[in-house]
């Protein structure tokens, strides 16, 4: 992403100004420069205050330790050593990694399959389905998770009634070994429609003449979909996966909401973000919480960077 889009941003050293720019008017050029900065400054102020500064602040905080006995003292990398040997943090990391490995393919497969099917249909039913599949995106994540926690609940949920009909005992969706799948379902429900719209828009922008050529060459519908359409939309899919990856590693809202009714299966350190939150707000360990938050930030950044690097061929970000 970085190199691709910034290339045009750097003026080529050999040709510093375009032909139509007045080359003699250096005061005019200076005024333009000033206007450029004026336009970007309001954003840069917010960027500095609420992104750069908190990052440095968190890093600074993480280098200190404060206890009632000794007060606040500089402890260097101690908090990081502690974090990366802390089973609670490491388990949380492994858990969100497992969620990423399961959840992202599920969402992308649902989204891509729906988009590919929609792309071949122009009926009212197809149009209505597209809206309905997208609908969960318009529901706040908290509300979506609340709705599912009602549906999973043995007290309100429909599953007891549904399973009674077939004469089977209702599964417990909130037990330690099933809650993983339950959360995957909540996230898939919430986000697949959004990715579908993104992928669908990409499919729509393909020149239909390509399909004509494929048909003349004897390709059937499946072949056209998998060998022609999917490769042509790979850049959109890379974008969708990147956002899903960043979102999944920060997993917080859904498990926090489900924890209301599944305290046994979801503990306070279920994900790294939940762990940092409870360290900060339940135990007032702000220094250690900063180290956890900062480590998570670096890992997510590095993870998505590596992913974009590995897929640079598919996404066209050479």
């Amino acid at each position: 992403m970085t190199m691709q889009t910034t290339l045009p941003a750097q003026p080529a050293p050999a040709a510093p100004a375009r032909g139509n720019r007045p080359s003699g008017g250096s005061s005019l050029e200076r005024r333009r420069q000033r206007w450029g900065w004026l336009f970007v400054t309001p954003f840069l102020v917010v960027f500095a205050l609420f992104l750069v500064f908190p990052l440095f602040y968190a890093f600074g905080m993480s280098l200190f330790t404060s206890t009632l006995a000794t007060g606040t003292r500089f402890t260097g990398a101690e908090n990081y050593v502690k974090a990366f040997t802390d089973p609670l943090f490491l388990e949380g990391l492994l858990r969100v990694a497992a969620y990423a490995i399961v959840m992202i393919p599920v969402q992308l497969i649902v989204a891509t399959a729906a988009a590919l099917v929609l792309d071949t249909l122009a009926t009212r039913l197809a149009k209505a389905s597209r809206l309905l599949i997208f609908a969960p995106y318009a529901i706040p994540v908290v509300i979506g998770a609340l709705m599912w926690s009602f549906l999973y609940s043995p007290r309100f949920g429909p599953s007891a009634t549904l399973f009674d009909v077939v004469g089977l005992p209702s599964p417990d969706f909130l037990a330690a070994d099933t809650v993983f799948g339950s959360l995957v379902n909540v996230v898939t429900w919430q986000w697949s429609g959004y990715y579908m719209v993104v992928i669908y828009a990409a499919l729509r922008s393909i020149d239909p003449a390509i399909y004509e050529a494929a048909r003349i060459d004897g390709a059937n519908g499946w072949q056209t979909a998998l060998r022609i359409k999917v490769p042509l939309i790979s850049s959109s899919m890379v974008m969708a996966i990147t956002f899903a990856l960043i979102g999944t590693l920060q997993f917080f809202t859904e498990p926090v909401v489900l924890r209301n009714i599944a305290q046994g299966a979801i503990d306070a350190a279920y994900t790294p973000n939940m762990y940092a939150y409870s360290l900060a707000f339940s135990y007032s360990q702000f220094n250690y919480a900063s180290a956890i938050a900062f480590s998570l930030g670096i890992l997510v950044f590095a993870g998505s960077y590596v992913f974009l690097f590995l897929t640079r061929k598919q996404s066209g970000l050479k």
């Binding site: 910034t6 333009r32 009602f150 239909p208 900063s290």
Partner: protein, 314 residues
């Protein structure tokens, strides 16, 4: 280079193309006879998917019309004999002094103040990066682009600590100010501006004597409308959805957005005794709170359907 080029025909219905090539609709009409069987299969697939995605929403609609005993006692996916929606809404006005409406109002305030502000900053910055060549532009933009990959939740705890030092914790500003940050919005606006606003047009306006601000407002801004609506929608939805930040920076119940408030009611209802169990208010409150966004998405369809894909289209 073309990977991130924006569509310029964002407002077109997806079934037509700006270039005049035969639309998909024509294509599939032509195929109709030969693909009859598969079309039934495809439609069945879509219907099953649509049911999966809609069932929880249908449940919410039904649940909003039930009182607490109906929630426990009647089939989950069908109405109870007693239609209690209006009682529930009346209950939202009386429970804890009608704090629910306060929460809903807060959500609107935070989402619009944060969303409008973030969009305004993104438009200005996107235009600046796309149309002015100033020293340091490439480096600064690279940093902004890289920051899209910084998980915003990692910033919540340090932001909390910073804001509490300045004493603006537990005020609306604690939610609104951090919500102004939208590096992805800047990126989208820049990519879109680069293609949608021709340099020649700006040059012509300047030659006609328009100042830089006037050129921006009267020449560039009207051309950016589709991208503006998209960035606005994304940032309003983002702030409306936000949970971690308000959870961390707000403790005064009067200031909570509806998301955090309803979650608090749920936690209390799960933990508490009879008097604190307000299941019917949670379901009807959730129902009322999702209406505004669902309706705006319905009415703004033609914008977001193309717009959500700016920046990711080949």
């Amino acid at each position: 280079m073309s990977v991130f080029a924006p569509r310029t025909d964002l407002r077109d219905e997806p079934a037509t193309t700006a270039t005049g090539v035969p639309s998909h609709a024509d294509r599939s009409a032509g195929d109709r006879r030969r693909r009859g069987g598969r079309r039934i299969g495809s439609h069945a697939f879509l219907v099953i998917l649509a049911i999966y995605f809609v069932i929880p929403i249908w449940w919410l609609v039904v649940a909003a019309t039930k009182n607490t005993s109906g929630l426990f006692g009647s089939p989950a996916f069908w109405f109870d004999d007693h239609f209690a929606l209006f009682e529930n809404i009346a209950g939202l006005f009386t429970h804890q002094g009608g704090i629910y409406w306060r929460w809903l109002g807060n959500s609107f305030l935070y989402a619009f103040a944060g969303g409008l502000g973030a969009t305004a900053l993104a438009i200005l910055a996107g235009y600046g990066f796309a149309k002015y060549r100033f020293r340091g532009r490439g480096a600064v933009f690279t940093v902004i682009l890289g920051s899209v990959m910084v998980p915003l939740t990692a910033l919540v705890i340090p932001t909390f600590m910073l804001l509490s030092q300045y004493g603006i914790i537990n005020t609306p500003w604690a939610v609104i100010l951090p919500s102004l940050l939208s590096p992805f919005g800047v990126y989208l606006m820049r990519v879109y501006t680069q293609d949608a606003v021709p340099d020649e047009m700006l040059e012509a306006a300047r030659i006609d004597g328009a100042g830089e601000l006037r050129t921006f407002f009267q020449v560039a801004l009207p051309l950016l409308k589709p991208a503006i609506v998209t960035v606005l929608l994304l940032s309003v939805v983002g702030t409306w959805n936000n949970f971690f930040l308000p959870l961390a920076v707000l403790t005064d119940p009067q200031l909570l957005p509806v998301t955090v408030g309803l979650n608090r009611w749920t936690a209390l209802s799960n933990a508490g005794a009879g008097g604190e169990q307000v299941w019917n208010l949670i379901t009807s409150g959730a129902f009322v709170s999702v209406l505004p966004l669902i309706l705006s998405f319905l009415f703004l369809q033609r914008y977001w359907q193309g717009g959500l894909s700016i920046g990711s289209i080949k």
